[in-house]
């Protein structure tokens, strides 16, 4: 009985608190308004993408968000066009291999730079970091010349090679390995593991959130990559999804409704990946920022 009364009393207190909650002040209203507008700004392109994918060609340049005569014909057309699946598969293969490669090599380099003391370590790290300051546009020409000389033009390898290891990934992983106490590494060394085993068995499981974050960044980056795949590929069977989608239409006109349909479909895998792993992305970014 006493307990029941106590519970009732405490719940009443809670209700009272709720009832007497202070009204939002001007600052809060301004903050919410800015956030709301920001949210709208972020969502609009996606909304227009979906809206356009449901429109007929004659309605594409009409800016209304709700199509006058919604149709699924665009989806039918894109999904029945065999090239779409081919490009989807190309993107999937390239993004997956690049992701695995980055997870492996970036973490291996990051671990080495973090946990081993050797002459020139700092210079190597700075050299890697400095490449972050070079924009992709500047690198495209040397990559192209290199691909041409090695016969990599219009091949999967040609599309993938620039992104198999990244300075950003190396930096991210190095910062994460800083959080792994040296005692773990030394304990494993005393227990008889070799350096590769220590990295794989002890260090890697301890930086799983960073690996997940890196994997998502790399996968999304390669899934949406456009400029380099466009330059290095010639034949439609080597196109990635973004390059393939941009080829919809003819010389006279761009078939925006089909491009938007393909884009909407191609967004789904990344959306799923993001929804599953978003907490790792946030953690990865926060850690990289804190430790940087």
């Amino acid at each position: 009985m006493a307990v029941a009364e106590e519970i009732r009393a405490s719940s009443e207190t809670l209700l009272d608190r709720k009832a007497t909650r202070r009204p939002a002040n001007l600052g809060q209203i301004i903050r919410w308004t800015i956030l709301f507008l920001g949210g709208i700004l972020m969502v609009m392109p996606i909304a227009f993408m979906i809206s356009t994918s449901l429109k007929w060609p004659h309605e594409v340049y009409n800016l209304n968000l709700i199509p006058e005569e919604p149709t699924l014909d665009n989806y039918r057309y894109v999904l029945e066009d065999g090239r779409f699946y081919w490009w989807f598969l190309n993107s999937l293969i390239i993004a997956t291999i690049t992701t695995l490669s980055n997870v492996f090599f970036d973490s291996l380099i990051g671990y080495t730079l973090c946990k081993f003391r050797f002459p020139g370590r700092y210079i190597v790290f700075i050299a890697i970091l400095s490449t972050l300051m070079i924009p992709t546009e500047m690198l495209v020409i040397p990559w192209y010349l290199m691909s041409q000389q090695f016969g990599w033009l219009d091949t999967y390898w040609g599309i993938m090679f620039p992104g198999l290891m990244t300075a950003f990934g190396t930096f991210l992983m190095k910062q994460f390995f800083e959080t792994v106490p040296d005692d773990f590494i030394e304990a494993a060394r005393i227990d008889g593991l070799n350096e590769f085993q220590i990295w794989w068995t002890v260090a890697m499981p301890l930086v799983r959130p960073a690996l997940a974050a890196l994997a998502i960044f790399v996968f999304l980056g390669n899934w949406t990559a456009f400029i380099w795949p466009l330059i290095v590929t010639n034949s439609t069977e080597h196109y990635t999804l973004p390059v393939g989608l941009s080829s919809f239409g003819d010389e006279a006109d761009v078939a925006w409704e089909l491009i938007m349909t393909g884009a909407a479909i191609s967004t789904l895998p990344t959306l799923i990946v993001f929804l599953i792993f978003q907490r790792f992305i946030i953690r990865g970014v926060v850690m990289a920022g804190l430790k940087g």
């Binding site: 005692d183 030394e186 304990a187 060394r189 005393i190 227990d191 008889g192 499981p205 301890l206 799983r208």
Partner: protein, 352 residues
């Protein structure tokens, strides 16, 4: 089991020498504690023995074998770290069994060994838990278990109790000592806590600035300190130091008091007399070593520490817990000459 010998061991980082030729023999099955203030080189010595640091010069022998160029895994040692170093992603069972990963033995034997160790450490019920579900003391036991499972010749402990609270530290101290009595392996234990050193060691190695100051049993280092550093480092509260000059068969303290010595030293020599707080007693026959007012009292229940102002010096003494002198009261304290330590004022070395 094995003995450990350090011969003229030197360690330098670039041009900075941190260990200056350490010589030490540790007997097979002995429990040796390295103690000293931060930066004295005790952990570095341990890491050199473990093979985690490279020796600059000198020799390390484990079981008669020179191990300078051997990898840690080839030295037949196991180490317990200050931060436990138990892997958070593995269960207690996997953590304890980690040391057996590279051991060439059947899985059933490995499992049996893990369970034996868990039983010794009273952890059988916790084998399937993750480290995050364990208390500090239990984590420390897992770390010890991981070292034990390999049955190494030498156990190395690097300040393993520093992260535990006072009560748990006392308990773990006792457990490690019992463990040593049970398994009998050679143990080298590093700590900065002189109480840990005194209570656990067969022999204590006191270090300062990369030099060994004294090696001896707890009783030896307490009752016969080799120099003023050891005298003040071992024992809490620290030994009182009273400077003075030799005057025939006695010492005239700078405070003016005259203290008779049991033996003769050259007259005029500057010395420092060391007296432990518990050796100071109220003076009843007019031969006070120290006379002054009680400045501070620290009641500890069974006894009270009193801080007596004697000239520029502050002397600590232990008084009866029930009837301590009042604050501001003038007290005269003396000590049995047999309990007075004499050190050379310049070198700090013991003269008796």
């Amino acid at each position: 089991m094995a003995d450990v010998s350090l011969m003229k061991l030197v360690k330098a980082y670039d041009r900075t020498e941190v260990l200056h030729g350490i010589d030490l023999n540790i007997e097979d099955g002995e429990f040796v504690v390295f103690v000293g203030p931060s930066g004295c080189g005790k952990s570095t010595t341990l890491r050199l023995i473990a093979g985690l640091e490279e020796v600059t010069s000198g020799e390390i022998r484990i079981g008669g074998r020179v191990v300078n160029n051997l990898e840690p895994k080839e030295r037949d040692i196991a180490m317990v770290f200050q931060n436990y170093a138990i892997y958070p992603h593995m269960s207690v069972r996997k953590n304890i069994g980690f040391g057996l990963r590279t051991a060439k033995m059947p899985k059933s034997d490995k499992d049996k060994r893990i369970e034996e160790v868990a039983e010794i450490l009273d952890m059988s019920a916790l084998l399937d838990r993750k480290p995050s579900q364990l208390s500090g003391g239990q984590r420390q036991r897992v770390a010890i278990g991981r070292a034990m499972v390999r049955d190494p010749a030498v156990f190395l402990f690097d300040e393993p109790l520093s992260n535990l609270d006072a009560q748990l530290r006392t308990q773990m101290r006792l457990e490690i000592k019992k463990l040593h009595q049970r398994v009998g392996n050679t143990i080298i234990f590093v700590t900065h806590d002189q109480v840990e050193a005194m209570t656990m060691a067969d022999r204590i190695v006191i270090m300062k600035d990369g030099y060994i100051q004294q090696v001896g049993t707890p009783a030896e280092v307490y009752h016969k300190p080799a120099n003023t550093f050891v005298a003040q480092f071992i024992g809490a509260p620290s030994m009182n130091m009273l400077p003075g000059a030799v005057n025939g068969g006695s010492v005239r303290l700078d405070t003016g008091a005259e203290v008779a010595l049991g033996h003769r030293l050259e007259s005029g020599r500057r010395v420092v007399l060391g007296v432990r707080p518990e050796d100071l007693a109220p003076d009843i026959d007019g031969a006070a070593l120290v006379e002054g007012q009680v400045m501070v009292r620290e009641p500890l229940g069974h006894e009270t520490l009193i801080y007596v102002g004697a000239g520029d010096a502050e002397i600590i003494a232990k008084a009866d817990g029930r009837l301590p002198p009042e604050l501001g009261e003038t007290v005269s304290l003396t000590a049995d000459p047999a309990n007075i330590h004499v050190f050379d004022a310049a070198s700090g070395e013991a003269l008796t």
